[in-house]
Symmetry: C2
Subunit: 110 residues, 2 copies
DNA sequence: CTTTACATGTAAGATTCTTATATATGAAAG
DNA sequence: CTTTCATATATAAGAATCTTACATGTAAAG
């Protein structure tokens, strides 16, 4: 059955997907998600930061403080091997959710 | 942007979709959702009943007590016109969510 | 009689996401 | 130079959804 966490938790997939392309800090992550979905998906930073923290606890991502060129302190997150491994079954589950919802529509007037 | 309620709330779409086919009571609704999604989506009745109540408050469905052939008391829900109207923009939003996630990275066979 | 299927609910709790608030620096505009 | 905008991180309070566990009762089947 499709896991409980999958039905909400769009953000989790979004973060892992974007981080797959390379390490990023929170602020930029939020912008990428918005850009890459053409504004369809938007997460406020207040939603994002606690989630990054949770994902770090689960060892899916690892954060490290760094100082950018312009002297700003920021926390840069990268996927861990565990996070990479998580991604493909996660996508699989999402795919199954899509299918399930599509079936409901079809069968609903079959 | 995709509404906050859409990212969770699979159940809402599922219930409305199944009720589109005709009036049903809660217990049977749960079974239909499970059957029609081939077991991929399952909602416990404990999740379903409070939701049916909420949806009735919003006037998307209307419940009526009836007595079945075998003398059992049960609450039969049907879509209201408002509920029917809700369905198509709801599906539209879901469709946009799928698209957005696919854009982030290819989700297995979209 | 005892278990399984039918049928409805409540309670406690975890999790996720929202808005609002707080802090602080660098760069650009006036 | 000083206000404002973009960068950057974070917490708090609260709404909404979904989970497990609990509670109740009838009917049919073995």
């Amino acid at each position: 059955m499709i896991g409980a966490g999958i039905k909400r938790g769009t953000a989790e997939l979004a973060v892992l997907s974007v981080l797959e392309d390379g390490p990023l800090h929170g602020y930029e992550l939020a912008r990428r998600i918005e850009q890459q979905t053409k504004g369809a998906l938007r997460f406020t930073l207040a939603a994002l930061y606690p989630m990054l923290y949770r994902m770090e606890q689960r060892r899916w991502i690892r954060g490290a403080w760094e100082t950018s060129d312009n002297g700003r302190r920021r926390r840069c997150y990268r996927l861990t091997p565990a996070g990479k491994k998580k991604l493909s079954p996660l996508r699989q589950e999402w795919s199954e959710l899509f299918q399930a919802l599509r079936r409901l529509k079809k069968v609903a007037h079959a």
